[in-house]
Point group: C3
Chain length 396, copies 3
């Protein structure tokens, strides 16, 4: 075995994992060592694939996807991850089935799971409902497994909910680890998670929440910046503060993009809708109140328009550490004069960071595959060792 691979496996084996058979719903429910294991398993899978070693560990099996909102990146990442491990994707398309609410979440969850290994869910439209839905599915699966109805308890992976977007934030973290060399090197680094202007409204809170909920665990100086009124779910705010303290980092909220950008090593400017708006929107969506939704959109867009100067311009970038902070985005970004007239980021800034941004996105399939693998296998290093030993080529 080559030394790089050996160092990966040694690292995984040196950590205590609590990932086995536990759903991945929120990063802050996972231990620090769990997160390290996910990252290293992802790196190992990428390393093996790049060397044309097949990482199939399922000869057959299903990975169910349920997208309650549009998706390109995550859909393809999930499909890629499933395929990488040997699982076939079966999409639960609610339009082609007859899925009601309440009681039947339990039933549907069970009915799709008889021969399933993984269920990936995106449910980010309704505040207070997305993550709750995943837990409802999880409880149904627990019950069905305990009752002997299911031969296995499929693992659930959160593909974005109202609270967190763990496959995104973990891919972001792997990107940071790669760029800065190690998780240790992130200690003391300043990251600016800031709101940015966009000509659309209603973007989920899960990305900024996911970032402050994850990055505060690595001793970083996390600045959250947004115009007054654009706050996140208070509980996540509180959690970020507590975590920052525990990791000897810092967490604060400021109301100027400039303040967050100042001396930042990493910037993440991204639009979102205020918590209060999302609450109102959730109510209107539930009532199918189309007029109400239109009015809310109008009101919010006009409010957004007051903050057009929240744009990641070249001038803004000059404020950062040596003017060279790493620019992050979950994509697609609203690029000024490219995808819209005025947006989150200036075209020249985006273009300069386009290659690293795309690399950032490229980690997601491996992060999801690592979440799958650690959910299904108690001893991930052992499985990877077997895979390497087997030495089967991915491409003949």
């Amino acid at each position: 075995m080559d030394t790089i691979l050996k160092s990966f496996l040694d690292k995984i084996e040196s950590k205590v994992s609590t990932l086995f058979q536990k759903d991945f719903l929120l990063t802050w429910e996972k231990s620090y060592e769990d997160l390290e294991i996910i990252l290293t398993v992802a790196e190992t899978l990428k390393y093996l694939r790049d060397k044309n070693i097949s990482t199939r560990c399922f000869d057959s099996g299903l990975a169910i996807s349920q997208f309650r909102d549009n998706s390109t990146r995550t859909r393809f990442s999930f499909a890629s991850a499933s395929n990488l491990l040997g699982l076939a994707v079966q999409d639960l398309d609610e339009g082609k089935s007859q899925i009601a609410h309440g009681e039947t979440v339990r039933e549907t969850s069970t009915m799709i799971s008889f021969l399933s290994d993984i269920i990936g869910i995106r449910d980010d439209m309704f505040l207070g409902a997305g993550n709750a839905y995943m837990r409802e599915v999880g409880a149904a699966l627990d019950e069905a497994y305990a009752e002997g109805v299911l031969p296995q308890r499929p693992g659930i992976i959160n593909l974005q909910c109202d609270i967190d977007h763990p496959t995104q934030s973990m891919a972001d973290l792997l990107h940071l680890k790669t760029v800065f060399g190690s998780l240790e090197n992130l200690r003391g680094k300043k990251i600016a998670m800031t709101w940015a202007y966009s000509p659309s409204y209603g973007k989920p809170l899960s990305v900024p929440q996911g970032i402050i909920g994850l990055m505060t665990r690595f001793g970083m100086q996390v600045d959250l910046a947004y115009p007054e009124g654009y706050d996140l779910i208070p509980e996540v705010d509180d959690l970020a503060g507590k975590q920052a303290q525990e990791s000897n980092g810092s967490f604060r909220t400021v109301n100027a993009m400039q303040e967050a950008f100042k001396d930042a090593d990493i910037v993440y400017p991204k639009s979102w809708a205020p918590y209060q708006v999302m609450q109102r929107r959730t109510k209107l969506l539930r009532n199918n109140d189309h007029n109400g939704l239109k009015e809310l959109e109008k009101e919010c867009l006009s409010n957004n328009a007051r903050f057009k100067e929240w744009e990641c311009t070249e001038k803004m970038m000059e404020l950062t550490s040596n003017g060279k902070a790493l620019y992050l985005h979950c994509l697609p970004a609203d690029i000024s004069n490219v995808s819209c007239k005025e947006g989150e980021v200036a075209a020249t800034v985006f273009e300069r960071y386009r290659v690293p941004l795309y690399k950032q996105a490229g980690f997601k399939p491996y992060i999801i595959a690592a979440m799958m693998l650690t959910n299904r296998f108690e001893n991930p290093a052992g499985v990877l060792r077997n895979i390497e030993h087997r030495g089967r080529n991915r491409v003949l």
Copy 2:
């Protein structure tokens, strides 16, 4: 080889199969031994998977699904079965293709079949059309194979039509075999297939017809109960009577739920639309007569409402053998005060039988896989022996 597996394989080998390369369209077209083989192959596949033995017998190959009506359970069962044997599912979505009627059923059937091993079809909306469509597809495939156009003749599996729902009734039968210990133990048992009230209309006849068309073959006392006017296709009625006589069981139709439930060992209360209504509905659907359909629905719902006492209540259950008949349903059920105000079954009854019901549903993927395997392999026991001998793990 362990003794359980050996007993399965011995059982399969002791029977004469006529399943090879024959479509599975109606259970009553299959011999008693054929049905026994399907059940035992399904049990074997489940046994092997539970022991983490991969049952892939296709290194590549396609299973085509065509759902002309919504489906969750059967769609996932079909996908699971395909995957279990190593086939990839390709859905024929008529919305994304341009499939006309008449001549082109022959053409389309051929065009999707060049490299296909199995075609699963759901077509239950039009009385007199669903099963006929499957046979039209089958005839096209026969012809194309005979003409040397197709390198193989894909097998067709009926995933529900206007007449029968064989993957459902066979899963139900495997459930009964498991609960009662053997097919022999079903002899003399009383099963009540009864209509039940539902606040919706137009439910297919295929489940009650499938049940009386299958259960009358095992020496059971089959009671079919429905309010006057809610009859099934007459031919299936006649067939059930004839089969009951041949198997030394009984078959009768009664017009009171109570009478059917009395001393029953198994009850299957389930709503359906009367045969005559389905005939009218078929005509209206063909003519795209939306107003006519609305009127028919109104008329039928008001007629249904006269029979709200046709509910599987606790009191009704008390009439059954020791008050403990096994409750069956194809799911989803209309549960009173849960999924609707007044429905087919009381919540307490449903909840008490929920676990066995879910187990019943869990047999469907294996039944479908067994139908696939016996269609493609002349010697199913031999294939299963090879699979066991190969000893490849499903999960590494």
Copy 3:
């Protein structure tokens, strides 16, 4: 190794391929030897599958399909080809994602490609846009691969564009090679690519253009026939003339079906919309001008109706060589008195050639698989040799 297989592999090895890692967008961009290699690889894959040898050369991997227009035949052919080589299909459904124009073609192309080996695209609605779109995707992939964003550069296969339909024309060519015995035997044969009447309008130009763009390379006498005004893209016309000269064949355009059919060995009567109409239609589609589109359709249908005698009747067939020209069509055809009142071909003619037509269509999955294999493997004969040596059964 048997002698047939050996002769296939020897043939492939005797040619110089430039197919490796090059997109397949237009047949006339490929060398004569490249086309010969595609045909022989397709024949080899078919030969191996018919002998139940698994031709999987990917243990895992994704084939992305993007259909910007409806498709049955090509969709199933692409799925079959992918599966035959071991790739899982992931469909890029633009309705379920949020794909904008301009800048983001680059981004989307990259985002779906991290773990993808092949991308198949159908984009035939907009004149001047379909093939250009494929090249835009290709350029994005080149860039992303060069920048280290992608670990591999997925190959693109044109599944029909505004200019060419190479998977169709190559399947047609393999059919001709099979019927006439060799490519050499096509030399001097007369093929009539002619317009035919259809009661619909707006059919793409890609099939007639693909045929004249391919068949003029084999020393054939290619007659293109259409009513005045129904011309193709001028550049393809020019190209066909030049190629015919180089291959010592001929190419001419005539304005009577009879003239083209006279002494023809092969006839390909098929409706299309005039180039000028497609240009106007493209403009109207881009402007979402529904009224304009309706008017254009009306105008065109009435113009079409002036040429109802452009039908492949028995009488027309009598003009061909010994009255026995081989009839070709890409399917589905507009068959008079079957799929429409008056159409492209008489029912008796179609029926007489139905079996060869279906065989023609049956080559498409293998042509696509050959395009995939030669794109991914520098030494296709070596891969096929390995596959034969491995001797793994497709069906256990």
